[in-house]
């Protein structure tokens, strides 16, 4: 009993005192924002037909459907082209800002607003990839996903250094951004611009209020306790959101796997052959024919897919097996991107998988990226940037995922 109490209190301490998985959360932040940004850039020439005034899914049709389900979109505020372009621009800019981790929390909210606005405006244009991005955009709002690999982290470091030198650090951008967004919230709420169920607007107001509260508490509170309490709550939300994201990934694989088990084509080992023969999913018909020319190969891939998908959630209990499966699934998604012509779906799934990557691997990835950047800059004529310090990797580096 005593041991039980001890382990519970240890667990509580763990989830309240820090935001776990800083590298994993940064990885999914970068993964989903990059997926959506690339998608928006790719569809830039088609944006009017997908979500705008030129869409066969007209504004009036969208309004009638949303009247029945209450989905959130800013695009119902006006059917004008200018408003549409502004929202598309907001979606582009917020995903770029989230990618580099500039004002991460605020941008994660704007990112969610952009994703929901466009996708819910034309819900029949999307596929599974959009579905993943949709869910993750909501979950990301609750994470502290900018603590590493972000401009915020750099700003924080520089501010800390400046304070250590005794300088006064002021930040004007934050309050200005907060003021502008508050104004936008007031206008949209007052003019009925949300046109949706109350939940997402309430979330927007809640995050905005909390950002203000955080600022006030950090500046005015006489004791440190209110600030620590807010920090604790922030950690709780972050860690919970990570759990939800991981569970969501497991549900995706479990559903995909368990339903396949029931299918006759997955049982007789021919299932993988069929999608490659569909006009909509065969950008390289010759490649598809080549890959399915052997019945035994098709059988192996068919059974392998089912086994990996069904097994994945259970392998989380063993790091080694989990990492092997993770590599297999990322490779399979990369293959799907090319063979079935689903690059954005595959990117979204790879970003989802990334939440399970081991920390040691991600740190090494970060060092590689830093080194590559340093080399790039030195080639451009600057002095060589010294190797980034690597105190956090005392272990000898052997290949692959060892965490």
């Amino acid at each position: 009993m005593n041991r039980f109490t001890l382990s519970v209190s240890a667990a509580i301490a763990r989830v309240t005192e820090s935001a776990l998985g800083p590298y994993q959360s940064a990885m999914i932040r970068i993964g989903f924002s990059a997926t959506w940004l690339l998608f928006l850039l790719r569809e830039f020439i088609h944006r009017g037909e997908l979500y705008g005034p030129d869409s066969p899914w007209g504004w009036e049709l969208a309004r009638q459907l949303i009247d029945t389900n209450g989905a959130f979109t800013l695009l119902l505020w006006s059917d004008g082209r200018g408003w549409f372009e502004a929202v598309y621009g907001l979606a582009l800019l917020s995903s770029a800002a989230l990618l580099v981790g500039w004002r991460t929390r605020t941008m994660s909210v704007l990112f969610m607003v952009g994703v929901l606005s466009l996708q819910n405006r034309s819900v029949f244009m999307g596929d599974g990839g959009d579905n993943v991005v949709h869910l993750m955009a909501i979950y990301l709002v609750f994470t502290r996903c900018g603590r590493v690999w972000s401009l915020d982290a750099r700003r924080e470091r520089r501010a800390a250094e400046a304070r250590a030198r005794g300088e006064r650090v002021t930040d004007a951008v934050g309050p200005v951004l907060w003021g502008v967004l508050g104004f936008a919230l007031v206008v949209l709420t007052a003019t009925g611009g949300f046109h949706s169920a109350w939940t997402v607007p309430a979330l927007l107001w809640a995050v905005w209020s909390c950002l203000g509260l955080w600022w006030v508490v950090g500046r005015r509170a006489r004791s440190a306790e209110p600030r620590i309490l807010l920090d604790v709550i922030g950690n709780i939300l972050h860690n919970s959101a990570l759990v939800v994201i991981m569970a969501e990934a497991c549900l995706i694989y479990a559903t995909a796997g368990w339903y396949k088990v029931q299918g006759s084509r997955w049982q007789d080992g021919t299932a993988v052959y069929y999608p490659l023969q569909l006009d909509y999913f065969s950008p390289w018909p010759l490649l598809g024919d080549l890959l399915t020319s052997s019945g035994t190969m098709v059988l192996l891939v068919t059974y392998g897919t089912v086994i990996v998908q069904v097994a994945f959630p259970f392998t989380l209990f063993n790091r080694r097996v989990k990492n092997v499966l993770l590599a297999v699934m990322m490779l399979e998604h990369a293959a799907i991107a090319v063979i079935l012509g689903l690059p954005f779906f595959s990117l979204a799934m790879i970003a989802t998988d990334a939440v399970f990557l081991p920390t040691s691997f991600l740190r090494r990835l970060g060092r590689w990226a830093a080194r590559a950047r340093a080399r790039l800059f030195s080639r451009e004529g600057r002095a060589t940037v010294p190797e980034p310090r690597a105190p956090e990797n005392p272990r000898p580096s052997h290949v692959g995922f060892e965490a």
């Binding site: 997908l50 309050p175 169920a197 600022w215 950090g218 690059p343």
Partner: protein, 270 residues
């Protein structure tokens, strides 16, 4: 194939009820350390590597009064997470005892923002190529009208996708999912079921008119007066190494002629 569809067909009448991720206001205090307008002077550096020695953080650093607040927040969030995951699980699970009795509560929680469908190519992958084809009655300025042959719009999509490393949603999803939406909201006699049925008819009609005009089917100054849509389903040939035999005959589902509203024909599809 609805393998990659988000299955929005089920949104019918569902209303969002509660925000699973947003527990009551006091609990929504995201850790704003990173982009707070001004970070408190001695806050634990968010950029610091995890595990760096930071004295007195977490609940241990709080007095009992604040600890109660933290415990409350933890309890609320924990409950919210459990409920949310339970709801999502029931939403993606097959119909069962619980979903049959509490389906409405689950739908209230899930729709509209947490809807999902992960039956990717399951239980069986689609084994037919379903092509949407259209023909039109065109009125020319001299008052006469002519009927075009059948245009295979899906085949056009297929050609656009061929050799394309990044197919657009306009090529891969637009028409394909519009047809899925149509079949899901119509009975076997092609009669519309509810609001979604009529919405899907308008949607499909606008897509085919848009494509006819884009493809130059109307000629120099013809106007599309009426359109007729049909689907053609052809079985995928079994693989060479299989002994299976399937019919390679196309099966058609032919809809009745639809009049095109004046606005639609001019591409004004607002």
């Amino acid at each position: 194939m609805d393998a990659y569809d988000s299955g929005s067909d089920a949104t019918q009448g569902a209303k969002a009820a509660q925000e699973p991720q947003a527990p009551p206001a006091p609990a929504v205090l995201p850790g704003m350390a990173v982009d707070s307008p001004a970070t408190p002077v001695d806050s634990p550096a968010p950029g610091a590597p995890p595990g760096s020695p930071e004295p007195r953080t977490g609940v241990a650093a709080l007095s009992p009064r604040y600890q109660i607040g933290a415990a409350l927040a933890l309890a609320v969030v924990a409950v919210a997470v459990c409920v949310h995951l339970g709801m999502v699980f029931l939403h993606v699970a097959p119909s069962n005892t619980v979903t049959k009795t509490h389906g409405e509560a689950i739908d209230d929680w899930i729709y509209p923002e947490f809807e999902q469908n992960w039956k990717l190519f399951a239980p069986n992958p689609l084994q037919q190529n379903i092509a949407v084809q259209v023909r039109a009655q065109i009125r020319t300025p001299d008052g006469s009208s002519r009927t075009t042959g059948w245009y295979d719009l899906s085949a056009q999509d297929g050609r656009d996708i061929d050799g394309n490393p990044v197919p657009s949603h306009t090529q891969q999803n637009e028409l394909r999912r519009a047809w899925d939406f149509f079949t899901a909201s119509h009975d076997s006699d092609n009669r519309a079921v509810g609001l979604r049925g009529t919405l899907s008819e308008t949607y499909l009609r606008r897509i085919v008119v848009l494509r006819l005009e884009r493809g130059g089917a109307t000629g120099a100054d013809g106007v599309v007066e009426r359109v007729q849509v049909r689907s053609s389903s052809t079985n995928v040939d079994p693989p060479d190494w299989s002994t299976e035999k399937v019919s390679s005959q196309a099966v058609y589902r032919v809809l009745s002629w639809w009049s095109v509203l004046p606005g639609e024909a001019e591409g004004d599809v607002k």
